[in-house]
Each structure stands twice: as C-alpha cells, then as structure tokens.
C-alpha cells in the first residue's frame, strides 16, 4: 500500500496553490518532489500531513486517510526549521518523540544512537539556541525520525548544510529507506533527487509537469547532453541543426542535442578543427529536464 493523492486541489481564496495533482508514491521507496519556490511543494506536504485540508480530492496512506491516529507513524521535517530555543536538545527531542507515541526510555536510547551517529553526543544537554544552524538542523532531522516513522516527509532536508553533513544525512536517509521507511522529500538540489530517488515529480505552479520513474523520465526525454572541450572556437556549432541548446564554458561548450546519433554528426564537423580534449555524451541531467519542463531555472 502506498501514499496516494487523487485529484488533490488546494485553493487559497482565488489563488490555486495545488492544481489537480494525482500521484502515487510507492512504499519503501524514496520519492522526490522538485519545484521552484512557490510551486506548491510545501502546501502538498501540509495536505498530506493533514495540517490543512485539501479543497478537493483525497489523500490516503495504506488505504486510509491520514489523521491523528496514525501520526505516530509519520515523521516530518518542515521547511521552516524550528525547535524550542530555550530547551535542551534531550528535553525537546524526548518531548517530541513522546508526542509521536514513543515512550521516554526508548526515546532516550534512540537519541543517544543518533547523536553518536551524527557525531554530536555532547550536544545532548545543550540548549538549542547555543548550537550552530547546521547543528540545529541535525537535531531537527533527528526529531523527525526518532520515533521510527513508517512515512517520512522531508521538506528540503539538505539545505544549509556543509557537504560533509549533507553526506552524513544522505547516508542516514538511505539507511532509513533500506530499513523500510517510505520517504517523500523535496529538494532544491537536482543532484540529490537524481542520486536518491526512484520516483519523482516536478511541480510547477501547482501542477505536476513531470512525474514518474527517474530512469523512464530520462529515457523518454530523448535529448542528450554533449560536452566538448577543445582548443578552438566552437561557436559555429550554435547554428548546427541538431543542437538544441548552446552554452559556452571556459574550456569549451555544453550542448543539448536532439538524440544520441546527432553526436556523431557533430563529431564529424569538429574533427580537424583543432585538438579535442574531451568529447562526452551524457544522459540529460534532471536540471536540463526541469529547465525545459518548468521553463525556468531556480538555482
């Protein structure tokens, strides 16, 4: 059984934040939500959690609507991070875990494990306001998973972290998935979604513009990326019929071409023009797909 959104719409007055979205999020997988700011990701999450009601449509998890009776099985990391600034890490994590139905002793034990894993065991008795932003975020992350949720919703989990901590958190998320947690997450960073998710959904202005399995999305997109580095001017490629997009880089060009066979034509055209240091055909990046589908870059 999975998390299912059927024809879900949310309107705030005249404004439609989420427009008729129907997706199915498979269980024990990681599902990525992408979209520019204001695309409706957070609103969708809030509806999944029951924080706000959908104007139209149904949201079910394991065949049942999500309400407070299952809140113990759900973990949530909100986009706007927040913990009690004046409380000790231990106090508030145990409190929040208890509100999700975990008992105190188990919560304390689990807390020690996680603090150890995130290499911050000495923060246990510190007040949250004394911690750096990145460390607060680790604590916040722990707060969303301490009670071992079956469904975990992470709104921009990696934003504001340094690369080392992003790795630490990514590993934790992957481990959770492997141990059977269904994870829905939104991210700012395309590469995180590409790396972690089997299924994804790109939202734009409340509508899902791309939705499905990552591999499938890439394959059906057709277009490929071509990177050429060389010691000669390649600006003439701009007018090549197979080139869809042309971008100069410091070492050469970054092209988007219609299909993989077009690469062959281009190679023939540039041979003899000068020394070619790199000629690489790539799968389209999610970023390319996003830019085309959503019509805007957001990085």
């Amino acid at each position: 059984m999975s998390l299912k959104l059927e024809n879900v719409t949310k309107k705030f007055g005249q404004f439609t934040a989420v427009d008729d979205i129907s997706i199915e999020i498979p269980e024990k997988e990681m599902f990525g939500f992408l979209g520019a700011n204001g695309a409706g990701k957070t609103t969708t999450f809030r509806m999944i959690l029951g924080l706000i009601d959908a104007t139209k449509g149904n949201i079910t998890w394991q065949g049942k609507p999500i309400n407070y009776s299952v809140s113990g099985q759900i973990g949530y990391l909100p986009e706007e991070r927040g913990l009690y600034p004046k409380l000790q890490v231990k106090e508030q994590l145990v409190y929040l875990a208890r509100l999700r139905g975990m008992d105190k002793q188990a919560a304390l034990k689990e807390l020690d494990n996680w603090l150890e894993r995130f290499k911050v065991p000495d923060y246990k008795t510190k007040k949250v306001e004394e911690l750096s932003k990145g460390n607060q975020q680790k604590i916040q992350f722990i707060s969303s998973i301490l009670h071992k949720p079956k469904l975990l919703i992470l709104d921009e989990p990696f934003s504001g972290l340094d690369p080392v901590n992003v790795e630490l958190l990514k590993e934790a998320v992957v481990d959770l998935k492997n141990s059977g947690t269904s994870i829905v997450f939104s991210s700012h960073r395309m590469e995180h979604v590409e790396e972690l998710c089997e299924h994804l959904c790109i939202m734009q202005k409340g509508k899902p513009v791309v939705h499905g399995e990552l591999k499938e999305i890439k394959r059906s997109y057709g277009k490929k990326s071509l990177i050429i580095h060389g010691d000669f001017s390649m600006s003439f490629l701009q007018d090549h019929p197979a080139v869809k997009k042309f971008k100069m880089t410091t070492e050469g060009v970054h092209l988007q071409i219609e299909n993989e066979w077009a690469a062959d034509d281009i190679l023939k055209d540039i041979v003899g023009k000068g020394f070619i240091r790199k000629f690489m055909l790539e799968e389209p990046s999610l970023n390319d797909i996003f830019i085309e589908k959503a019509g805007a870059s957001y990085e």
């Binding site: 309107k11 705030f12 007055g13 809030r46 959690l49 029951g50 924080l51 706000i52 009601d53 959908a54 104007t55 407070y68 809140s71 113990g72 759900i74 949530y76 909100p78 706007e80 991070r81 927040g82 913990l83 009690y84 600034p85 004046k86 409380l87 106090e91 409190y95 929040l96 208890r98 509100l99 999700r100 139905g101 707060s143 969303s144």
Partner: protein, 417 residues
C-alpha cells in the same frame, strides 16, 4: 489523550523550571513577608530619635498649655519651652536643633491658637498632631469657661447610636457585608492578576512555539484543540502552584506578625467566619474566568508571528480585564444597581461582577448559575472558534498583526471554497 497529558506536564515543568518563574515567586514572597512586617520595619527605622519642637508660649500661664499638649503628644514629640525671640528660635530650627517651632497665643475669646514653623511643610505628621492636640485643648478650655463638667463634655461628644437593618429576606447584615466586602476585594484582585499574568503567559507560550516554528511539528502530531487546552491547563496548574506557594508564605508571615494583634487582619478582611458557599463561588468564578481569558489568550497568541507583537495583540483582552476590574471596584460600594446587574451577564465581566454580586447581595441561586452557564458557553464557543483560528493561525507567518488575520486563518482550514 496521551498527548494531552504529555503536553500538559511538559508545559508545567518547563515553565516551573525557568529562572523567571523562580525569581518572580521569590520576589513576590519576599514582598509578602515585607508587607506583613511593615509596621515592625518602620518602627525600627524611625524610632531613633524623638523630634524636638520649640514652644514659645504667650498664652495665659494659668492654662499650662505645654503640659496640656504633652498630655496628648508626649509619645511622639518632645516639647521644649524656650524664652527666646522668634528670630533666634527660627535660626535654631534652620540649624536643625529643633524640627519646628510652635507659637502659642491667646487673644480675646479665642483661648488658644497656634502657629507652626518648620523647614518644610510637606511632612504633616507633627503639624497635624499638634493641631489635633490644640483642638482638644480648645474644646476643654471652652468647656471649662462655661463650667461644663468633664462628664457633661463626654456626653456632648458621645457618638450617636445608629443601626441599619435590611428588610429583604436573607439580606446580608452589615457585619456580614463588611466581611464579604473584604473577601470579594481579595478575590477580585486575584482574578485580575491571574488573568493578566497567566493569560499573557499562555499567549506568549503559543507565540513562542509559533515564532520558533516548532508549531508545525506539534500540530502534525497532536490536534490543535487538544494542544490548546493542554497548554491552558498546564499553565492553570502552574498558577495554582504559584498561588499555593505565595498563599502559604503570606499566611505564615501574617500569622507571625499579626499574632500580637487581636483579631487582626483576618477579621478585618472577613476571613474569620466565612461561609463555605462564598468560598466555593470564589473558586468557581476564579476558574471559569481563568479559562475564558486563557482560551482567548491562546487564540490571540496563535495569530502573531513574532513574540514582540504579543502584547499588542492581547491589548484588547487586557483592556477587558481592566474594565471589568474597575466596574467591580465601583460595584463594591453599590452592588445593587441595574448597570452592574446587566454587566454581570456580559461574559468577560461575569467572573468578577457575578462573584461580587453573589458575595454582596442575596441573589436567588439561578442568577450565579446562569452566570456560570454564560461563562461556560462563551468559553466553549471561543474554544471552538479559537481552535479553528489556532489551526490556521499557526501556519500563517505574515508580518501583520491585524484582526483581519482571523478571517484568513479560518479560510486556511476551510474545506470547500
């Protein structure tokens, strides 16, 4: 329901452990002890030296003016007869040898009159003491001059005997009334302070959770209504704890210092033979009033995004409490007016005014019960309405703090639009 208790105890414990709670309680307790012993403290400081007043006596020496004044004032001032000129005496007052100078004269029909000079006339303790003494002496002297005996004088000044009796059945006697007045006064103050202090504590608590953005997590794990009432009850428990601590300290301090006085404070405030009924009413109206205002505060607190705006947001609520308090102070002397009767059914004034009326008048039982019903119904309506606003309000992070947000907050939770 489990979460309800978790939140309740969490609210209670985290609040009770704060330094500010500890400090407020200790300071207030110290204040109580200080107030209870205020007379002793003042005595220790002021008993250092009895002030001296120079007297230039130009009255008929047969009157023995100084001796007569001393009969009235010997405790507080030392009178010293001086035979110097006015200028010299005034010099001595300025130099500080005397606290003041008193000129006594008599002319014609007026057997005695006085003039008092001192560095400043702001402190009237001594001058009014002397004035009272001279008034008495003048009366004595006049009586003597028309040959009244001291007994006759006493009869002349004996207070008139005057009694008031209420004809209404069960009406409170004058004695009961003054006792009730004392208790009503104390309870009104308690309601006033509790509402102002603890209600704004709740509003702050909600606003803190909102501004620290933890609210979203809380709301996703516990229904807002449950959260709101757990918080209200948690703070109620806190207030009971604080009041018990302060009450017992105050009681002990007073018993210590009042044991010398017969009857003392307790009788003066009507605590000696209270009827149980009135205490029960006091407790009920106190609690209902607290819940009404606490619910209002929680709902107002959910509308602000920054803690700085809390005071501004709960201002109208504070105003309501103050108006209620002023009305009840007015009602203390005149509890039976139509105005007070009507106002006692306006929910936000009911806790104070209905209790005032119950305490001071002999109301039929249905009146206070109707008052309680009004309070309970209003609290429930406010809670239902508040919970909806709370649920939407806590997800709203506008910069504005206007009451239009209430509408927006409700829209946020609406299903069909």
């Amino acid at each position: 329901m489990n979460n309800f208790w978790t939140i309740l105890w969490h609210t209670y414990w985290t609040k009770i452990k704060t330094r500010s709670f500890l400090i407020t309680t200790i300071i207030t307790a110290l204040l109580f002890v200080l107030l209870a012993n205020i007379t002793t403290i003042i005595d220790t400081f002021s008993n250092e030296e009895t002030p001296k007043v120079a007297v230039i006596d130009e009255t008929n020496s047969s009157i023995d003016a100084i001796e007569r004044i001393e009969a009235y004032t010997s405790e507080e001032v030392i009178l010293e007869s001086v035979q110097q000129s006015e200028a010299e005496v005034e010099e001595k007052v300025i130099s500080g040898e005397f606290i003041g100078a008193l000129y006594l004269t008599s002319n014609g029909d007026d057997p005695i009159s006085g003039e008092y000079k001192s560095l400043s006339i702001a402190d009237t303790t001594i001058s009014s003491l002397l004035q009272t003494a001279l008034q008495q002496i003048k009366t004595e002297l006049t009586a003597e001059s028309i040959n009244l005996s001291p007994e006759q004088l006493q009869t002349l000044y004996a207070p008139v005997s005057f009694e008031t009796t209420a004809l209404e059945e069960n009406a409170k006697s004058e004695e009961e009334l003054s006792q009730a007045r004392g208790l009503v006064y104390v309870v009104l103050f308690l309601i006033y302070f509790a509402v102002i202090m603890y209600a704004s504590m709740i509003a702050n608590e909600v606003a803190t959770e909102k501004s620290s953005r933890i609210m979203e997590i809380l709301i996703s794990s516990t229904p807002p209504v449950q959260q709101m009432f757990a918080k209200i009850l948690g703070i109620a428990l806190l207030s009971v704890t604080q009041m018990l601590i302060l009450g017992s300290i105050g009681f002990l301090a007073l018993r210590e210092s009042m044991s010398k006085l017969e009857g003392g404070w307790f009788e003066a405030f009507g605590f000696s033979n209270l009827s149980i009924g009135i205490l029960v009413y006091a407790a009920i109206f106190f609690l209902l009033g607290y819940f009404l205002y606490a619910t209002l505060a929680a709902f107002l607190g959910s509308l602000v995004s920054r803690i700085e705006d809390v005071q501004q947001m709960i201002m109208p609520m504070t105003m309501l409490v103050i108006v209620g308090f002023l009305l009840s102070m007015y009602g203390l002397s005149d509890p039976d007016t139509t105005f007070i009767t009507i106002a006692s059914y306006i929910p936000f004034f009911t806790p104070m005014l209905m209790f005032l009326r119950v305490g001071m008048l002999s109301l039929p039982v249905w009146e206070p019960i109707l008052g309680m019903v009004v309070l309970i119904v209003t609290t429930i309506i406010l809670a239902i309405f508040g919970a909806r606003v709370y649920r939407g309000g806590v997800l709203m992070y506008g910069r504005s703090t206007s009451y239009k947000d209430i509408k927006k907050a409700i829209q946020l939770t609406k299903k069909e639009k």
